[in-house]
């Protein structure tokens, strides 16, 4: 009897170790693609990353040399546009959810923001195409920035709300007790306290949007497609979005760029945390 129980116990222990082993293997499997992709990017891309890569225009297809400056500039320009739309709306909306509003309204808004976060980015591309490109016949850098901005809104909204909620109530009470008005309390005390977290959220959203290609594919190539406006020739050279540019070049030039542009905000965000 006693022996049987002991045997049973070792078997259970083995089973436990086995389960841990399987879980460990699956964790390794999950991060394998990350390692493989990084390895692949570094092998193929590192050799072509130099100063020219960041400062020169791309060379014609088939020639050696040239850089990605137009793509990088285009990426930054789009991110700036997207930020101009997404950051104020997202941050202020998040503040509203955390500070004002009735419980019922807020839960509805939160719910909708979460649902919007799950909407595929290509949908935004289509919507903005219908909204801007069809209606105003082009000027697609704005359209692209708008699409990215719209993607950013629910992302930033939710992170801001969560961070602002973390600020201890004592801070608010202390400020209000000193006779500071509510909005000044929120702006100067609450948001300032939460600013690190808010910035982290913004950076994460920018990082996500920075790698986004799908909505832009439909919006930016609309220029090339022929809905041209007077400003487009100069714009066109600017608007090649980085990941898009990386598609046709099989020489491996552009590949490290997007990964880096995306992972450096990610790194800084992690450091902020």
């Amino acid at each position: 009897m006693h022996l049987e129980r002991a045997h049973n116990h070792t078997w259970r222990k083995i089973k436990s170790a086995l389960a841990s082993g399987i879980a460990f293997v699956s964790a390794v499997l999950v991060i394998t693609p990350l390692g493989l992709v990084f390895f692949y990017l570094v092998i193929n891309g590192a050799s072509s990353v130099n100063w020219d890569f960041f400062t020169k225009l791309p060379a014609p297809v088939g020639t050696v040399g040239g850089g990605m400056v137009n793509a990088i500039a285009g990426s930054l320009e789009l991110l700036a546009l997207a930020g101009a739309i997404g950051i104020p709306i997202g941050v202020l909306g998040g503040v509203y959810l955390a500070e004002y509003g009735s419980a019922r309204l807020n839960s509805v808004l939160r719910f909708l923001a979460d649902v919007l976060n799950g909407v595929p980015s290509i949908t935004w591309g289509v919507v903005v195409y219908g909204l801007v490109v069809l209606r105003f016949k082009g000027f697609s850098a704005y359209a692209g920035g708008l699409a990215l901005g719209l993607i950013m809104i629910p992302l930033i909204l939710r992170t801001t709300e969560e961070v602002v909620l973390l600020v201890p109530n004592g801070y608010r009470e202390a400020a209000l007790a000193l006779g500071v008005s509510r909005w000044k309390t929120i702006v100067h005390i609450v948001m300032k306290t939460a600013s690190k977290g808010i910035i982290t959220g913004i950076l994460l959203a920018l990082a996500r949007v920075g790698g986004e290609t799908a909505p832009l594919l439909s919006l930016l190539s609309a220029i090339v497609f022929g809905i041209t406006v007077s400003a487009s020739p100069s714009l066109r050279s600017h608007c090649r979005f980085l990941p898009m540019r990386s598609l046709p070049t099989t020489t491996g030039t552009a590949r490290l760029g997007p990964a880096r542009s995306c992972s450096s905000p990610e790194f800084s965000a992690l450091m902020c945390l």
Partner: protein, 334 residues
């Protein structure tokens, strides 16, 4: 009273002010309060506007196609822009099948990883692993697609696919010749893309399981795995299901990487080695090439279908996760 007020007003740097000035100061700030509240409220309400705007815009864009094809759009499988014949069935089929493959791969892996990260792993390994998985989420999908084309597909074609064909070639699922880009490759790349979200949401859920559950299991003499299985995983069942549905929502909408590896052929065949097409890919590929109005409207309708499906799936996921959050919150209060 007067004595108490005087130093305070001095501290604000207005020693000579009459008492009424203090009241006057309060009034504009009350206006500021109102203005700030309305401003932030308006910003928060953009979420509602966005949902309505998206739905309306997609409807507006596709209304011509809806009138022309009606319900047939969803159940016919001819996609012939030249003849103005549009049926979305192959795309719906491709989206569902590739997402299903992705879930079959990602769900066991993701939940096992989440369980490892919260319950089984040694403490020092947890945080680095979490950071790595978050970085996986940060890889842009084009990069993943590029890697898929140049590294993953050749490897898959030479080893696992050949192996599958040798042993399971008699089933319709793995019959036919292997091209490379195919439904199965699409499913695998989607699995890679949705793993981070499944892992991180499941991890949150497992972490929200009260420690009492674990303590009770250990107190009864459970091993680590038994405690995880009986006390944690079964307790969190509903929330994990929510995480899976959330992953499904992402899987349905994955665009770039899938477009690059799935082969982009609108057809419905049983073999997973054959190329397919998804709703999101057809939008990415053909949207700017739409030459006729009806073509564009058909694509808008595809966008509408995609939007509808993902909204529904996400609603389901949020409802599941929401009930978990509230029940665990009330339990915590009790």
């Amino acid at each position: 009273m007067e004595v108490a007020i005087a130093p305070a007003s001095k501290a604000f740097g207005a020693p000579g002010e009459p008492p009424s000035a203090r009241q006057a100061m309060a009034r504009p700030s009350r206006f500021g309060d109102k203005a700030f509240e309305w401003l932030t409220c308006a910003m928060a309400l953009t979420v509602v506007v966005l949902v309505i705007l998206t739905g309306w815009e997609l409807w507006h864009g596709s209304v011509g196609a809806i009138k022309k094809f009606g319900f047939h759009f969803l159940v016919t499988s001819t996609w012939d822009p030249v003849a103005d014949q549009f049926g979305a069935l192959p795309f719906i089929y491709g989206t569902l099948v590739s997402s299903l493959i992705a879930l079959l791969i990602a769900v066991p892996l993701g939940i096992a990883t989440a369980a490892y990260l919260t319950e089984l792993a040694p403490l020092w390994i947890r945080q680095p692993l979490v950071s790595l998985i978050e970085m996986l989420a940060a890889i842009p999908s084009v990069i993943l697609g590029l890697w898929g084309i140049f590294v993953m597909i050749p490897w898959l074609r030479d080893y696992p696919f050949a192996w599958l064909k040798r042993f399971f070639g008699w089933t319709p699922l793995f019959s036919g010749s292997i091209y490379g880009p195919c439904m199965l490759a699409g499913g695998i790349i989607i699995a890679v893309m949705i793993l981070p979200i499944i892992v991180s949401v499941s991890r949150e859920i497992l972490r929200s399981v009260p420690d009492l559950q674990r303590e009770a299991a250990y107190g009864l003499g459970a091993t680590r795995w038994e405690a995880t299985r009986i006390a944690v995983l079964s307790y969190a069942k509903k929330g994990l299901f929510g995480a899976v549905i959330l992953g499904l929502g992402r899987a349905l909408g994955e665009t770039m990487a899938v477009t690059m590896v799935i082969g982009n052929t609108p057809q419905i065949v049983a073999s997973l080695f054959q190329p397919g097409y998804t709703l999101a890919s057809v939008l990415a590929n053909e949207f700017t090439e739409a030459t006729t109005d009806i073509y564009l409207q058909a694509l808008f309708e595809i966008g509408l279908v995609l939007f509808g499906i993902t909204i529904l799936v996400n609603l389901l996921a949020q409802l599941l996760l929401r009930t978990i959050a509230t029940t665990s919150a009330t339990r915590a209060v009790q």
